[in-house]
């Protein structure tokens, strides 16, 4: 009854002067179809809905009914409750690569529903990250990875250069390794007025930061059977990096209570030299209304660990379709629209990182044309980080639960309540229990 249109359209004039490469469109005639959807709410995410929903409704005749629009973590709770109460009466929901595995099989495999020609428009690596147990359960909307923001003037200052060289024996340039970050942080710090760097200190946030450093240092959290192996040289080395900075007072003493809002506001206050943070903050940092370091920001790819890899903990915001959705074609069409060229351009203009190569080219070209050098640097850096450095956390349902046993131990080691060995030993034991209970071995 419902027809599926596949058409190639060249949209050279779609975005003013900037041309975007062609995409495969996925329209259909969905007159009389109403899709119930659950979306992540909040100002940053809602622009997309305000533009794409009317656009899709107009082109397909379908209707979108927003059942839920709420914060990321609240939405996670809600979906879990929906599963528990068997109440999956919606079609499309916001999802996240780090969360997707938890939801089991409620979301449908999009391979076969999404035409291959549509999938070809997305970055292959990101689609791979969106796959759980061989099932493509989500369409990526935008991706997140961290890069290192720093105060440019600190590195241009002649005194700093000379003093640093004298003390550490190499030139003061934006750091390429995490050891250099440590040196420079200690060098720049003048507690309690100024700190070299900072890190998020609790919950999944610090667990993720620890994880990426372990990988960068040549280690891993789990072996192939999901046995914890982070109580290793690489694990100790990574944990000691956190401890050393803390003990040297090169990070604020409160970091163990910091989440992303604290680190972002901290860097904007001009009291932090270097800050590993997400793309979402870029516009904020460079806005004089919001930030003291506006106009003085440099950005580079995340530094390397001792294993020669860069820290690239990454995730993507996505959309998933329920297995119980009665109208999968319409849902697929809507999910395409939400992640189409038009949609991704809207989000990219807001500073978020697109999941389609074509949009990377388009947004970079647009910023070049506008002469916005800062945002150009932001997009170019994050493009590299995402294509060269990004990796996801283990895509298993136990990830979040695992981070909850890991982070208190990391904190205990950083505070000196435990030695790194003791802390990782305990965390490893608890993690083994979780994995055992889950039936991995």
């Amino acid at each position: 009854m419902l027809r599926l249109f596949l058409s190639l359209i060249f949209a050279a004039s779609l975005f003013g002067t900037v041309s975007v490469k062609a995409e495969t469109e996925l329209w259909g005639d969905y007159n009389g179809v109403t899709l119930r959807v659950k979306l992540i709410g909040g100002g940053q995410y809602e622009n997309l809905y305000n533009e794409v929903i009317p656009w899709w409704e107009e082109n397909t005749g379908g209707k979108i009914e927003i059942v839920t629009q709420k914060n990321h973590f609240e939405l996670d709770k809600e979906i879990k409750k929906d599963i528990a109460s068997g109440n999956l009466d919606f079609c499309v929901a916001s999802n996240h690569t780090s969360f997707a595995a938890q939801y089991g099989s409620i979301y449908t495999d999009l391979n076969g529903i999404m035409p291959a020609s549509v999938l070809a428009d997305y970055t292959p690596l990101i689609l791979e990250h969106s796959t759980v147990d061989g099932r493509l359960v989500q369409m990526p909307r935008h991706s997140d990875v961290s890069s290192l923001y720093y105060q440019k003037s600190l590195y241009e200052d002649a005194d700093n250069k000379a003093n640093f060289k004298a003390k550490y024996g190499y030139d003061l340039t934006p750091p390429d390794t995490w050891d250099q970050v440590k040196d420079q942080s200690i060098f720049f710090s003048n507690p309690p007025d100024f700190y070299g760097t900072q890190y998020v200190g609790k919950e999944e946030a610090i667990a993720g930061r620890f994880y990426e450093l372990v990988v960068a240092n040549g280690g891993a959290l789990f072996d192939e059977d999901y046995r914890p192996i982070f109580n290793s040289d690489a694990g100790i080395e990574s944990l000691e990096w956190f401890i050393d900075l803390y003990n040297a007072k090169a990070v604020p003493e409160g970091v163990l209570n910091y989440l992303w809002d604290d680190t972002g506001l901290g860097f904007a206050s001009g009291t932090i030299a270097m800050n590993l943070d997400w793309a979402g903050w870029a516009g904020f940092f460079n806005d004089p209304e919001n930030s003291k370091v506006a106009g003085d920001i440099g950005l580079i790819r995340a530094p390397m660990g001792s294993g020669g890899l860069r820290t690239g903990w990454s995730g993507s915001h996505t959309f998933s379709m329920t297995e119980s959705c009665p109208n999968k074609d319409a849902a697929a069409s809507f999910m395409w629209a939400l992640t189409s060229n038009k949609a991704q351009m809207i989000e990219a203009r807001g500073g978020l990182s697109p999941t389609r190569p074509a949009i990377w080219d388009a947004i970079i070209a647009e910023k070049e044309a506008e002469g916005d050098e800062f945002m150009l640097m932001v997009f170019e850096t994050f493009k590299q980080s995402l294509s060269l450095d990004a990796f996801t956390p283990p895509l298993i349902p136990e990830w979040i639960e695992f981070t909850n046993v890991l982070y208190p131990e990391l904190q205990a080691a950083i505070l000196g309540d435990k030695t790194p060995e003791q802390a990782l030993e305990t965390a490893s034991k608890k993690a083994t229990e979780i994995m055992e209970d889950a039936g991995y071995f």
Partner: protein, 294 residues
């Protein structure tokens, strides 16, 4: 029928209906889940009976009992401080006649703040690097403190936020009690040469006692609302230094999705609430006997 209409149950019927639907029925369901390995994301686990396994696990769970103990301590200290401050405020405002209405409204100002907002607000006030408090101390040359990290300071900081947001409740309840005190006995006592302290101790305080215990009970029941505050400020950390039952239960239930275990925890914690409530309730009955209202 006349007997029923004149009796207490016709009056209590709506209460019973509402509480049965919203409290007792759900409570039975969650009691059942505490005997299962219920995981939110695996609904079929709801029908797997495991007896007392969740409870057995908890009895040997060190982290749980530490959080339990800390919650008792937190409740005891916070409630008593709130009472003392609240009583002070009520007595002070009771003395003022001019613009009292405005003062009372201003006094209730913190009650307009949702616990979730209080959490954010105090997290930023206590931020060690750019927070309001450390900025203030710095002006006087006092070195900044890691308010939310140090074990003692972190617990005190949370308590400060909780006290700020809830003392008004005590104050307004006690003020209402103070205003209901009959004037004659006080006048008579003053004529008889009692000083202010004696009047307070022998007349005002006994009269206030029921109100104090009402306030205490209400607050001890209600104090779990502090969950939002603690969750925002420290989330129980760092290194579990501020872990209270509420943060632990909520993380276990919703983040780890282990609802069966979380409900076993909350059943144990219900006993804590019953103990606190029973204590104040018993005290209230005694205070009433002294005043012999009944």
């Amino acid at each position: 029928m006349k007997k029923f209409l004149n009796g207490p149950w016709v009056l209590l019927l709506p209460t019973v209906i509402v509480l049965a639907c919203v409290v007792f029925l759900p409570l039975l369901i969650s009691l059942w889940t505490s005997f299962t390995p219920f995981k939110l994301t695996r609904p079929d686990t709801l029908y797997k009976f495991v007896g007392f396994r969740n409870y057995e696990r908890l009895f040997g769970n060190y982290d749980f009992w530490v959080a339990f103990g800390r919650t008792v301590l937190f409740l005891t200290i916070a409630l008593n401080l709130e009472l003392v401050f609240g009583l002070g405020i009520a007595l002070l405002i009771n003395k003022i006649t001019y613009a009292q209405k405005t003062l009372r409204t201003l006094m209730m100002f913190p009650m307009m703040f949702s616990p979730i907002l209080v959490g954010f607000q105090w997290k930023y006030i206590f931020n060690d690097n750019i927070g309001l408090l450390n900025n203030f101390l710095r002006e006087f040359g006092i070195s900044p403190k890691p308010w939310l990290v140090d074990t003692f300071l972190a617990n005190m900081s949370i308590m400060a936020a909780e006290i700020w947001s809830s003392t008004s409740v005590f104050a307004i309840l006690l003020l209402a009690g103070l205003m209901g005190i009959p004037k004659d006995p006080i006048e008579a006592a003053k004529v008889d040469g009692c000083n202010s302290w004696q009047v307070f101790k022998n007349i005002t305080l006994p009269f206030l006692m029921p109100f104090i215990f009402i306030a205490m009970t209400i607050r001890s029941l209600d104090v779990a609302r502090a969950y939002d505050i603690v969750q925002m400020m420290t989330g129980g950390g760092p290194a579990k230094r501020t872990e209270l039952l509420w943060t632990l239960i909520s993380r276990t239930g919703y983040v780890d999705a282990k609802m069966g275990l979380a409900n076993a925890m909350s059943y144990i914690s219900i006993f804590l609430s019953i103990a606190f409530t029973f204590f104040f309730f018993y005290k209230l009955m005694e205070a009433r006997k002294i005043l012999s209202y009944d």
